[in-house]
């Protein structure tokens, strides 16, 4: 262990004597700009890499919605809220056609009942068993691609004939290598924050392209549920 006093010169303000916030504020705004540029570049490269997948996935989603399919979305923590934003985009869009979409983490009584009674790994898969039909869509949001509750739910969805979509980061994790996942979108970054920011844009593009597909004449029949 190095004597902390001998390294204090590396951290001029370690003793709490710093009083002028000017240089900190300059550093903070420079850091914010650098991170924003990093996020913008990652969104661009992610879209470029995933564009073909986005189009194919949206076409398949539109077909399912047009034939009465419903979408179930789920994730953990911040990814759960991203799943909820994605759900709201489809179910209550500012423009375009409202489509049946459900966020499986929204009902605290169901999530806590399942977590307490059968274990957290099953909180989403047990709901899919109850609700889903073979014409539906399951969408899992993860950054690691390894969350056990999501992997279990995607496997259950696949067994039941649902179309399955996974969002992951890093190298894609288990989700990227699973036969149970029809479309896996991997944001190639090591930062959970930057991964979530790019996943949001991928989700937005999936929604926008699905709307375009549904507006095309060949898709004008069929209901939303």
């Amino acid at each position: 262990m190095v004597n902390s006093e001998s390294t204090n010169f590396l951290y001029p303000f370690i003793d709490g004597e710093e009083r002028d916030a000017g240089s900190l504020l300059t550093d903070l705004s420079a850091s914010a700009k650098a991170k924003a540029r990093e996020s913008a570049a990652l969104q661009q490269s992610t879209l470029a890499e995933c564009a073909g997948q986005v189009l194919a996935c949206s076409t398949a989603m539109a077909e399912r919605f047009a034939s009465g399919g419903r979408m179930y979305c789920f994730g953990n923590g911040g990814s759960s809220t991203d799943a909820a934003t994605f759900t709201a985009l489809f179910a209550q869009p500012v423009t375009g056609r409202a489509l049946g979409a459900v966020n499986l983490a929204a009902d605290m009584s169901v999530v806590t009942a399942l977590g307490n009674d059968v274990g957290f790994e099953l909180v989403f898969s047990r709901q899919l068993i109850a609700h889903a039909t073979a014409r539906d869509i399951a969408v899992a949001f993860s950054t690691s691609g390894n969350s056990a509750d999501l992997i279990t739910a995607l496997a259950e969805a696949h067994r039941r004939g649902l179309m399955t979509i996974g969002f992951a980061g890093y190298g894609g994790g288990e989700m990227a290598n699973s036969d149970a996942v029809d479309f896996c979108f991997v944001v190639r970054s090591q930062s959970i924050h930057r991964i979530q920011e790019s996943q949001a844009l991928l989700g937005y593009q999936l929604w926008a392209t699905t709307q375009q597909c549904l507006a095309a004449p060949s898709m004008s029949t069929g209901g939303t549920r």
């Binding site: 900190l24 504020l25 709201a88 924050h193 979530q196 937005y204």
Partner: protein, 263 residues
């Protein structure tokens, strides 16, 4: 992208036929937003350091309220402090905030400038003694509508779903934790009454919210202000009702504060 050098990724993305205007642009924090984020982050860090709870609100995009709360309370980077942050998502968010917010707390909203509930919330925050942060896009709120306004001037009503707002509160979290590495800057400037013009002793009016209206006893009403609860004289503005906002000076309400923010 001001200089507009087109790199290979952007070119490839353009050819996909996807909407290229939707996401985060490299220049998104230009025009002062990066500086606004820096100042807001230091303010947030100082408030947390002094014991604040952060109350997160987003009536139209509720998941953003939850995401901000989980971001601060359960950090993605192991070893970072868990900070007290909670989402307020009741249908009457002002009533929920009224019983939750204490002096010194933080109120952070993600909402459009014309969101009626958030406008009402933000104009009450000064009377509750809290610090307000307002994240949004499109037309800006009026000057002074919140202590910190972090705004993306993009008219796309779907901007909240493109990762831009997620970026904003991710940055707030990241920068706030950088501030914690500067303990000397976490103590706010001394607000003791050492000058003749401190806010407590000056002629400045203070916003207050009525808790119990005058009950016939000498025109007194119980109100809350940034410094706590007190009885004030409301004869000048009578009758008052619970939750009315008034301006207090020297123990008396001088005027009612209307629906429009006046500070």
């Amino acid at each position: 992208m001001t200089a507009h050098t087109v790199d290979a990724d952007e070119l490839a993305a353009r050819e996909t036929g996807l909407d290229q205007t939707a996401g985060i642009t490299a220049d998104i924090l230009d025009h002062g937003l990066a500086e606004d984020l820096a100042v807001a982050s230091l303010s947030i860090a100082r408030r947390f350091h002094a014991g604040a709870t952060m109350w997160c609100v987003s009536p139209r995009w509720e998941p953003h309220a939850h995401h901000m709360a989980v971001e601060f309370v359960h950090p993605v980077i192991v070893g970072k402090r868990a900070l007290p942050a909670l989402a307020l998502t009741d249908s009457n968010v002002v009533a929920q905030a009224r019983v939750s917010v204490r002096p010194g707390d933080l109120v952070i909203a993600v909402a459009a400038a014309d969101d009626a509930a958030v406008l009402d919330l933000m104009r009450r925050v000064p009377a509750w003694g809290a610090t307000s942060v307002w994240i949004g896009s499109g037309d800006r709120p009026a000057t002074g509508a919140a202590d910190h306004v972090l705004w993306i001037e993009d008219p796309n009503p779907l901007a909240p779903a493109t990762g831009r707002f997620v970026l904003m509160y991710h940055l707030l979290w990241e920068l706030t934790h950088v501030c914690f590495e500067h303990p000397g800057l976490l103590v706010e400037a001394d607000e003791q009454c050492t000058e003749q013009v401190c806010i407590t002793c000056s002629d400045e009016g203070r916003p207050a919210e009525v808790i119990l209206p005058a009950d016939g006893v000498f025109g007194q009403a119980l109100v809350r202000t940034a410094t706590g609860q007190e009885y004030i004289d409301v004869t000048l503005v009578a009758p008052v009702q619970a939750n009315d906002l008034v301006l207090v000076h020297a123990g008396a309400a001088l005027t009612k504060l209307g629906d429009q923010p006046s500070w």
